[in-house]
Symmetry: C2
Subunit: 396 residues, 2 copies
C-alpha cells in the first residue's frame, strides 16, 4: 500500500423528499442572500422540481439567479457566462441541479469567480485553484459521482478539448440525492450511467500497487452491487430500492475511498474521450466499447489480477480453464452485462467508422509524446491497436 | 434503504513516517500557538515518538502542554483535568497521541472546554455539545477507529458508568496513521483490536433494514479483509503490509460509511461493557465472548441474513446443511478465528465467574426498563440467557 492523504468533506443527504432540505442546508453552511442555480434543460421547471427546490430556498430569504442550458460534455462558454453573472450580481454560492455536466459546470464557475486569470488555465495545468465559491448539488443522474467527487471535466469548444481538474477544494459542500428524481431518466441514460460507474471502479482496480487487500475488496463489493442492481434498475426504473442502490454505488465508486494508497489507471477513459469527442458518442457508450478491448490488450501484464477480477466479480470458477480462458470468460460476461443495459460493445454497434484511429491516438498521446494510463502506459501505436480491437465482438 | 445524512470530514494521513507531518498539518488547519498533547503511558517518550512529533510541532512556533496518563476505559477525572488545563493556559487545540482511549479523552476535553456546565451532562444525554476545540490525532493502535469516528466513550469512576457521545462535531480534524508505530504492540492488544473492529462491522451488519445491498457488500468486504489480515498481523507483527491493511480496515469499519441508510444493533457491545466494567476485562475480550452467544440467541430472528453472513464472510458452502447448521458452522469458524488471535470465547477461558448475570443484566437494562440493541431488543431476562450461553463453548 502506498502512503496517502484522504479526505472527503461533502455531506450527503440521501433519500425520498430530500430536495426539500436544500434551503435549510444552504443556510446551515452559509449566510448568503443570493445563489446561482445551474441546470440543464427546462424539464426541471415542467416536472415541478425547480419549484420544490426554489420555494424553501426563497423562504430562507435567498434570491435565485438562473443559469440553464448545460449540455452533456459541458462547455467552457457557459462556464464563462456563469462566472460573469456571479461577479456582476455578487453571488457568493452556487447550487447545481442535474447530473455531472451540471455539477462540473458549477464547480468550474466556483473556482473561476475568485480567480484573476482565465479559468481554463486550471484545466490546462497552467495554474492551480486556491479558492472557490461554495457549491452544493441536487444530483438527478446516477452515474459519474460528481456529487461528492473532487473532479470536474469541462470541454473547450475551440478544438474540442476535454480536460479535468481534480482537487479536494472543489468537492461540493453538500449534495442531495433523492432516487425518485431519477425514475424518469431514459433507459439509454441509465445504461450509460451504470457503465460509467462500473468503469470508475475498474480504473481504480487495475493497479500496479501491491498489498491493497481492503481497497481491492471494497472495489469488488461495489462492482458486484453495480452489476446486480444495474440490470435491475434498467429493467424496473421505478423500483425505488434498486435505484437507491445504484445511486449510492455511483457515489461510492467515485468519492475517492476506493483508491486510497493505490495507483489508478484511467487509460480507457482517455481512449474513450476521443471517440466521444469525434463522433458525439455518449461517455458511457464509449466506455462499454473501449474497456473490453483495453482488457484484452493489457491483461497479460498482470494476469493474476485479472483472474482475481474474473473469480471475485464475475463468479468465473477458478477451474473454468487456463488463466487466459478465465480472463476471457470474465470479459465475455462483462460484455453480456453491457448488452443487457442496451449498450454497444463494438464500434460497429455504435455506427462508428474505423477511419480515424491514427488521428485520435495522435491527439490523445500528444503526438505519441505522453502515453495514457498507468497500469500499462498506452502510447500511440498501442492505442491504435486497442481501437482496432474495438471492432472485434468480445463474444467471439 | 432508509433516508440518511452522512459526512466524514476527518482528513487521514496514512503511511510510513507520516507522524513527521503533524506540525505542518496543525498549521494548515489552525494558527494556534499552543496545543494540549494527550497521551497514555510514558512509553512514547522512551521510544522517541514524542520527540519525532514534538520537534516539527515546535518548529511551527507551537508550545506543547502535556496531559499524560490516559488508561484503558478512559476516566472522566482526567477529562476534567484536561479541561481545566486548557482553560487556564488558553490552549485552543488538542492533539491525541495513542489509541482510542487517548483519542476519546481528547474529544471529551474538546467539547468540555467551551461548555459552561459539567461535560458529563453530554454523556448522560442532559445536553448536546454545540462547540468543540479542534482535535487531531496520531493513532497508534489499530482497533476502535476513533481516529475518524464520531464517537467518544468515557468512564465515570463513580459507579463505573461507561457512556458515549456520538456526533459529527467531534470527528478529529485530521488523523495520522503510520502502521510502523503499531509494530511494538503486545499480541493480546492486537487480538483485542482485531476483534473490536470485526465486531464494529457486525454491529452494523445485523440490521432489520431491507434493501441495503451496497452497504452489506462493503461490510462483507471489510470483514473478509479483517479475517485474513487479522490472523496475518497477529502472527507477523512487523509485516508492514498486513498491519497497514488491518489499520485501514479498522478505520473504515467505524468511520460511518458502512452504516448509511441502515439501522444498527450494538447489543453485544452493551452486554460486553458490563463484563469489562465488573471484571476489568479488555473490551475486545468481552466481545469475543459475547458475540458468539448473542448470535446463537438471536439468529432465528432473521436466519437468511445469518446464512448470507455464513456464506459470504465465512465461506460456508450453501449446501453445508440446513440453514441452522450453516449458521452454527459460521459461528464455529468465527470462534476459531478469535482463538487464533489468542482471545477467549467463553467466560471460563477469561477466568470470569457466573455469579453476577442478574446484577449485570439489571444494570445494562436499567432495571429491565430499556432493552439494549435493535436487531432484537434484549431485555433483562434475554440478557441473562445470553450471559448463560457465554459459558458454552461454541465449538461444541
Amino acid at each position: 500500500m502506498d502512503n496517502f492523504e484522504f479526505s472527503n468533506t461533502t455531506e450527503l443527504i440521501f433519500g425520498r423528499d430530500t430536495e426539500k432540505e436544500v434551503g435549510r442546508k444552504i443556510r446551515q453552511y452559509s449566510d448568503c442572500r443570493k445563489i446561482l442555480l445551474v441546470y440543464g434543460s427546462e424539464r426541471i421547471r415542467k416536472d415541478g422540481l425547480y419549484d420544490r427546490i426554489a420555494e424553501p430556498v426563497r423562504a430562507q430569504g435567498i434570491e435565485i439567479f438562473d443559469l440553464g442550458g448545460v449540455k452533456p460534455n459541458p462547455r467552457l462558454g457557459l462556464v464563462y457566462q456563469g462566472i460573469e453573472l456571479c461577479r456582476k450580481e455578487e453571488i457568493p454560492f452556487i447550487l447545481a441541479v442535474g447530473g455531472a455536466s451540471v455539477i462540473d459546470t458549477a464547480k468550474a464557475i466556483g473556482v473561476g469567480v475568485p480567480y484573476d486569470g482565465d479559468v481554463w488555465d486550471f484545466f490546462m495545468g497552467k495554474a492551480s485553484p486556491e479558492k472557490t465559491l461554495p457549491t452544493a448539488t441536487v444530483c438527478t443522474i446516477p452515474a459519474a459521482g460528481s456529487e461528492s467527487s473532487l473532479s470536474a471535466v469541462i470541454t473547450n469548444e475551440e478544438g474540442w478539448l476535454k480536460k479535468s481538474i481534480n482537487l479536494n477544494l472543489i468537492r461540493p459542500l453538500f449534495s442531495v440525492m433523492n432516487p425518485e428524481l431519477t425514475f424518469s431518466l431514459p433507459p439509454y441514460q441509465i445504461g450509460c450511467g451504470v457503465v460509467d460507474m462500473l468503469t470508475h471502479v475498474m480504473e481504480r482496480y487495475f493497479t500496479n500497487t501491491r498489498d491493497v487487500d481492503v481497497t481491492d475488496r471494497l472495489c469488488e463489493a461495489v462492482m458486484k452491487s453495480i452489476i446486480i442492481n444495474g440490470e435491475k434498475t434498467y429493467r424496473y426504473p421505478d423500483d425505488y430500492n434498486a435505484r437507491a442502490e445504484i445511486f449510492w454505488a455511483g457515489a461510492v465508486a467515485h468519492n475517492g475511498s476506493l483508491n486510497v494508497g493505490r495507483e489508478q489507471d484511467w487509460a480507457s477513459h482517455r481512449i474513450g474521450i476521443e471517440l466521444s469527442g469525434k463522433y458525439d458518442l455518449a461517455h458511457g457508450a464509449s466506455l462499454s466499447i473501449v474497456f473490453p478491448a483495453w482488457m484484452r490488450y493489457v491483461y497479460k501484464h498482470d494476469i493474476d489480477r485479472f483472474v482475481q477480477f474474473a473469480v471475485r466479480v464475475w463468479d468465473v470458477d477458478i477451474a473454468f480453464g487456463k488463466k487466459d480462458e478465465i480472463v476471457m470468460e470474465a470479459i465475455r460476461r462483462m460484455c453480456g452485462f453491457f448488452k443487457k443495459l442496451g449498450m454497444p460493445v463494438t464500434l460497429a454497434e455504435a455506427g462508428i467508422p474505423e477511419d480515424a484511429f491514427e488521428e485520435m491516438a495522435d491527439k490523445a498521446t500528444f503526438g505519441d509524446t505522453i502515453p495514457v494510463g498507468h497500469f500499462v502506459p498506452i502510447g500511440k501505436e498501442a492505442m491504435i491497436r486497442i481501437y482496432q480491437m474495438c471492432s472485434v465482438n468480445c463474444n467471439i
